[in-house]
Structure formats: C-alpha cells, structure tokens
Symmetry: C2
Subunit: 457 residues, 2 copies
C-alpha cells in the first residue's frame, strides 16, 4: 500500500493515465487498465478482490473484515467520460498533468480522485489499525458514464453480497474547496436517441428540394415540440410525479456560498433559463430536465454543401427528480416523439437506459424516521464533525443535479442508504475539457476521511 | 486535341481524378489540377486562354475566332462538391471508375462530363472546319459549388469580355437517357449558417442542467420556427415575389416521362411533402424552399455523453424562384432567426452568398418578344432538331430546381440569355455518394453537339 500511503497524487496520476472511456469501444484497453489498477490498490489494502462479469465491463467487488462487524459499502466507478472536444484541452486528457495546485486529466475528479482519497485514508487507518473492525465492501463499476446498463442485473444477482448498514459515495460536488456538501439527493436519468430517416441517400437540394421532407427539418420540428417557449417540457405526464422540495432543503440551499452573478459568469451565459418559479440553483436540484446532448445530420465540414441528408439524429437525456420513474419517463418521451413526427419520414427512438432519482433524509432532519442503522447515524454525525474540523466550515446538506443511476437501485434492492460527500467543484470541469481535481481538497479530504474512519469504530 | 477527339472517356477520367472540391481548403491542389487540365484542353482546341484572378479560385476565360463573328459564350465549372459521406461510395470518389456503362466519380456529371461533351464536339468540328466562323468565349469558374462568391465581382469588371449573342450551358438535368430537357429556368440560392453560443464550454448536464438554455434546444426552436406544420416557410415576405408558372410550362411538365410512384421509389421516402397546391414535380421547379443542409452540436460519437454543449450550428440554403431576390431573402431569413432566438443564448447568422433565379422564354413560345439575337433564335431551333435526331425524342422545355447562381448575373450584366441542355439524370447522384455520368448520353450528346455547332453557322 506504499503508493496510497506515501504518494496519493502519484496514485491518481497513474489511475488517470488509463483512458477508461466506457462510451467508446476504441478505449477498451484503457478500461481494462483502469480496472486492473483499482484491483491492485485494493489488494494492497488487504481486500479480497473479485471481478463480476457483466455484458460490458466487469464490476469490482472486494471485501475486508469479518461479516459480523458493522458493514460499510463504498462505491466508485473506474470508467470516465469521452475526452471530446480534444482541441480544447490545454494538456493531453490522458497524460495527467499537475499545474496550479490541480491535477488535470479526464476522470481526475469524476471519479478517480475521490476513489484515491478513500483508499489513501484507508491505507493510513489500516496501517495504524490492521484489524480495523468494520467490514468494508468495495464496489467499483465500469459503466457509470454510460448509464450503468449492467448494474441492475448485477444487483439482482449479487445483492446478498452488498447487504450492509450504509453506502459511502464521493461522486458528487461541493461549491468550493472550503465548503463541502453532504449530498442528500441525486437526479435520475433517462437516455434515448432519436433517428430520423428520409431519402435513401443524400440528395441534391436543388434537383429534389421541395418534393420531400428534409430529415433535419423533421428532427427540428419533433425536438422543438418537446419544450414550450418557457423551457417547460411538454411531454404528457412529465411533471405528474414531481415532489416539491422540503422547507429545510430550501433553507440549506440558502446557505450555498455562491452568488447568481458569479455562477452566470462561471457558465459564461448571457442569461439563466430556469423554469418559472425556481432560481437557477433550485432548478438544478429540484426540477427535471430534457436536454439535447448532441445532434448531427448532413454536411458539417467547412463551407456549404447543398444537400438534403438521408438522416439526422439527436441524443437526449432527461434528469429526473423524486418521484419520477426513469422507464416511465423514457416511454413518455419516446411516445411524444413518435406521435409528433411527420409520416413523410421514418423515425426511430432507442431507449438507452437510466436510473431513478434518489433522496436520503439525514438522521435527525425533519422527516427522518429514527430507524436508521447505528452505523448510519454515527456516520452522518462523525462525517459532519470531521469535515468541519479539517475544512473549517460546517457541511451543507443539499440535493445535487447529477445522477448516479445505481444509488436508488442499491436502496431499493439492497436496502442501502447513502452518505455522499462531495469532493469536486464546478471548477473541476466534469464531463468537459480540462477536467481537474483540486489537490487542496484532496489532501484535506484524506485527512478528514482518516478521522472519519477512525471515529466510526 | 487528340484525347478529346480520340477518347472523350479518358479525358473525363483524367478530369475527374483532380479532386477539385472548392468547399474544403484541403483539396486546394486538386482545384489547381482540374483548372490546369481544363486550360490544357482549351489550348489544344486553339483557344487563347486567360486566367482571371479572384479572391478564391481563378476563372478561366478563353476565346477563339474573330470578335466580329456571331458570338457564343460557353459556361462550365471546374470545381466539384465535397465527397462526403465517404463510406457510402462503392469506388473511390476521385479514382474515376467505369462500370455498367457509367463513369463513377465526384464531378463526373456535375460538371466535368458535360464540359468534355462540349469540348469533344468542338474538337470534331474544328478538325473539320478549322476556321469555324463563330467567336467562342469559354468561361469556366471554380466556385460554383460554394455559390460563386467571386463571380459577381469578376463580372462587373470583365463583362465587356463576355458580351455575346447567347450563353450555352450544360449543367442541368434530364429525366432519362432518351429524353433530354432544354432548361428554361433555374432556382436562385441564398446560403447562410446559424451558430448558437451558450455556456463558454461544454457542461455536465446533471450538475448544471436546468439553470441555463441548451444551445441545441435554442437552435431547434429557432430552426423549427422557419416552417409551419405544412412545410410552408414562415419567414415574413418569403413568398411575396413568387411568380406563378405560365400555362405552357405546366403543359410541358405534363410531358415528363416519370411517374410519381417511381420518383418516390427513387428517393426512397415514405411520402412526398410538397407545399399544398403543388405536385412534387411542380414544387421542385416552381416553389422556393428553405432547407437545412447540415446540423451539428454536442456529442456525436458512439454511446451517450451527458453534456450541455457550448454551441450548435445549422447550415441553411434557400432555393428561390422568380422574382425572389437572393440578398433580400437572406436578410429576411437572418432577421427571422435573430428575432426568434432566446436572449439566454447568443446567435450569429452568416450570409454566405447566393444568386437570383433565372428564366428564359424560348423564342416562339408564348410570352417571347421576338427580339432575340439571330444566333439565339437559330440555336434553340437547331438544338431541338439535333437532339431529336440523335435521342429520337423531342426535347421538353422545363424549369429546373437546381441553381447556377451566375446565369442570372450574366443576363443582368452581360445581357446573355442561356440555352441550357440537360445532360445528367437523377440516377447520376449529383452532390451524393456514387456520382456518375451515363456514357450513352455522353456519346449521343457529343454527336448532337457536333451537329449543333455545324448547323449553327
């Protein structure tokens, strides 16, 4: 365990340099490399490591300790987002580079850095207390960035190996390096792809233009019908199950040390566009979305090409809030698309998986039932204290806009509630060029987690 | 002139193998190669060849004969469309390949094949009649496929060198290899590109989704607002100057030996989508369009990437009919786009040039004024007879959906009316993968034009 103990930054650097992009099969060897790297670290920490096969990327399942002890499960993912657009990176996405107190590289913050934080803290703890009396199960998957399509099946088969008192996750965000967040909710996800097919091949737009419906035109009509002028999603039933936030959630959000104008500046947008009745910060956490993640069709090169393309596509994901259901929303969106599409073209909608939204009420907060496990009650209390000690600020309890599709599945099938401690910030550029992990957060977080694990026993 | 005289197919093969894509600067040397090839052929035919510089690709201007003779101008273009999508070509786009009576390659039909037809016919005529008593000016440009942006400026400076009695053009289509068309009109063109800019970089759609307007969503809204549900363009003033077709034009169109069901099958579309009141064949010729030639934005690779992209774009061209004006329509479309775009994103519309539509009334047809030049009157009559003799069918007089943006400019500035004889067919796949030129048409057309040139004197 020397690299985790002596040089967590070097460990992260090595982990990042395995290009483990799950969305693109040409990175298959990077996916293997990252997985092997994680397994090696867990073995060094004294875990029994197992690989559970899935149709895409195997899941790492590792255990340490006596099953009769209190049981903690720790989640992470070894896959990363694609690095595109490559030309906007200042350094190579898969050559981890340290500059200005940050480690740059795809996956540095999402989710390799936080994993190294947990492992390095455990390395210190195990070094001091070899017989650390909590049973830990490590669960590291390789399909998170493509919506965890294999996870539900894995869970149905293997849930007996994941029973426990609490799930620990660090795959969420915090507002800045001094103010951490304990995440109390995650949005769900529904992913789909629309393809519209027109003529059997690209056509000259002069020779044929006017006789037929251009597939891009059909796609624009269909996709633009999914939002009204105020940005509200028009899909029937879309908002039916949306539960409004609790008052204490709004109160906690008001403690967020970020100004709207600074956020607008960070995003670089001329104006916000939240649904009416919600601030931008509320919209991210409490409202569902329907986003177009990519579109393509026809000629995209330099200059112009007067063509009617044979097809066009849009990639869509919805972010969901309690109590929306991923499969139901995907079906509703699919039906709305098919219904609104002209019969002068052919439309196909593929549903690409997703996950339901998740909320946890921290023990003691209004609405909690007091029936949480002893480990869970202790963990939330200890986490709050250790974070405050090392970061000099009380953590804020907030729902987050992102999704970890499997957290709700783990709740539903293995009964696990989650303690989610956010270790990345907006400046880390997740899913974007120049992703990085803040080394100041990294070091303080290792100290905090060392204390956390020690005080948990 | 041996290659033109002895082996027109070899000449075309060589011409096609210069990849003269004007839209993409990486093909610059192919553009030079095609131009040099055309100049060499003209020199072999006894022309004095001049290259007139333009901001992009020089224009070939070549003359032969005594300026006091009747004056014929012949137009062509040495540039071609981009070859994308490359994976749909059965043979290399720039390795001309003869199979099944066709020569395959980008530019084979548009416009290199028809140029070789004219030149080969002239080679025979000049071989027999060295002092052929018609003054011929060859005008071959290299920017037709990008909307001839330099042509208007060239024409304003050089129009004195283009004065003449008639312009001969073969850059239009015919329904099949036995039925040629004399083209009496061309649609005009307005080209533009819309770019929508949102956040300063791609964002995680979970972390930020809901706070801001997705640029793709904004693009969809803007672009979909440009047509109504029936496909009619909604841009204010768009149809104001549209002149309905003459009755004789509808009568000629009724002679078109193509069935609607065969046309639908050729296109491979489930249904037509013409504006109400027009058949698909009428819509192509008599109605303006607004087409999306390409769109792009966000993640387009395999799988999904949950990103809010920083920008998105659409490439648009309008096809125009008399008496629409290209610049006016482009301005109207630009204004409609800017007006309908949300202020939560930034929009840019670049106008990329175009040309006005053109019509000619053949001498003797209803509406002709009888004041046409002697050469023009003779040329239409002789063309009809020579086509009928070699193709065994009377040509049909039809307007065409395509554009040759400079034809109306030549009418306006140099007073030239055009005799346009269509030598390609739908099966030639212009602007699409597997473009080809029908060698049966090629051979009969060389025979016809040999007769035409001889009977013109």
């Amino acid at each position: 365990m020397s690299i985790l103990l002596n040089s967590p930054v070097d460990a992260l650097q090595q982990y990042v340099e395995h290009p483990s992009v799950s969305a693109d099969s040409k990175f298959a060897s990077g996916v293997v490399g990252a997985r092997e790297f994680a397994c090696l670290r867990l073995k060094e920490l004294g875990f029994d490591v197992d690989l559970v096969d899935t149709p895409i990327n195997p899941i790492i399942l590792a255990t340490r300790g006596d099953p009769k002890w209190p049981r903690l499960v720790i989640y992470g993912h070894y896959d990363v987002q694609p690095p595109d657009p490559l030309d906007l990176w200042k350094s190579e996405p898969f050559k981890a580079e340290v500059r200005d107190g940050r480690l740059y590289g795809r996956g540095a913050a999402d989710n390799k850095g936080p994993q190294i934080v947990h492992m390095s803290a455990l390395a210190r703890v195990f070094n001091e207390i070899p017989d650390y009396p909590i049973h830990i199960t490590y669960l590291i998957e390789g399909e998170e960035e493509i919506g965890s399509p294999s996870f539900r099946g894995f869970l149905e088969e293997q849930k007996h190996r994941l029973m426990g008192d609490l799930l620990l996750v660090s795959d969420t965000g915090s507002p800045n390096p001094d103010q951490l967040v304990i995440t109390t909710g995650l949005r769900g996800l529904s992913a789909m792809e629309v393809q519209i097919f027109g003529p059997k091949q690209d056509l000259h737009s002069g020779v044929h233009g006017g006789a037929l419906l251009n597939p891009i035109q059909a796609l624009m009509k269909v996709c633009s019908s999914l939002h009204d002028e105020n940005g509200r999603v028009t899909v029937p039933g879309f908002y039916d199950s949306v539960r409004p936030p609790e008052q204490w959630e709004r109160d906690e959000l008001s403690k967020l040390p970020v100004k709207e104008e600074d956020y607008a500046h960070f995003l670089g947008v001329p104006d916000f566009f939240p649904p009416s009745g919600y601030s931008p910060f509320e919209a991210i956490r409490f409202c569902p979305t329907l986003e177009f993640n990519g579109i393509g069709g026809g000629y995209q090169g330099e200059g112009s090409k007067t063509v009617i393309p044979s097809e066009a596509f849009a990639k869509i994901t919805c972010r969901l809030v309690p109590d929306q259901k991923s499969e139901e929303i995907a079906e509703n969106v699919k039906n709305a698309i098919i219904k609104s599409c002209s019969s002068a073209v052919r439309v196909e909608v593929q549903i690409k998986g997703g996950g339901d939204p998740y909320v946890v009420i921290p023990p003691g907060k209004p609405g909690s039932n007091g029936k949480e496990s002893v480990l869970m009650k202790k963990a939330f209390k200890v986490a709050e204290a250790c974070i405050e000690a090392k970061f000099k600020n009380h953590p804020i309890y907030l729902r987050e806009g992102g999704s970890i599709p499997i957290i709700q599945d783990l709740k539903e099938l293995a009964g696990l509630d989650s303690l989610m401690i956010g270790l990345f910030t907006n400046e880390d550029n997740l899913h974007a060029p120049n992703e990085s992990f803040h080394l100041g957060i990294m070091n303080r977080a290792i100290d905090s987690f060392e204390e956390f694990f020690k005080k948990l026993i």
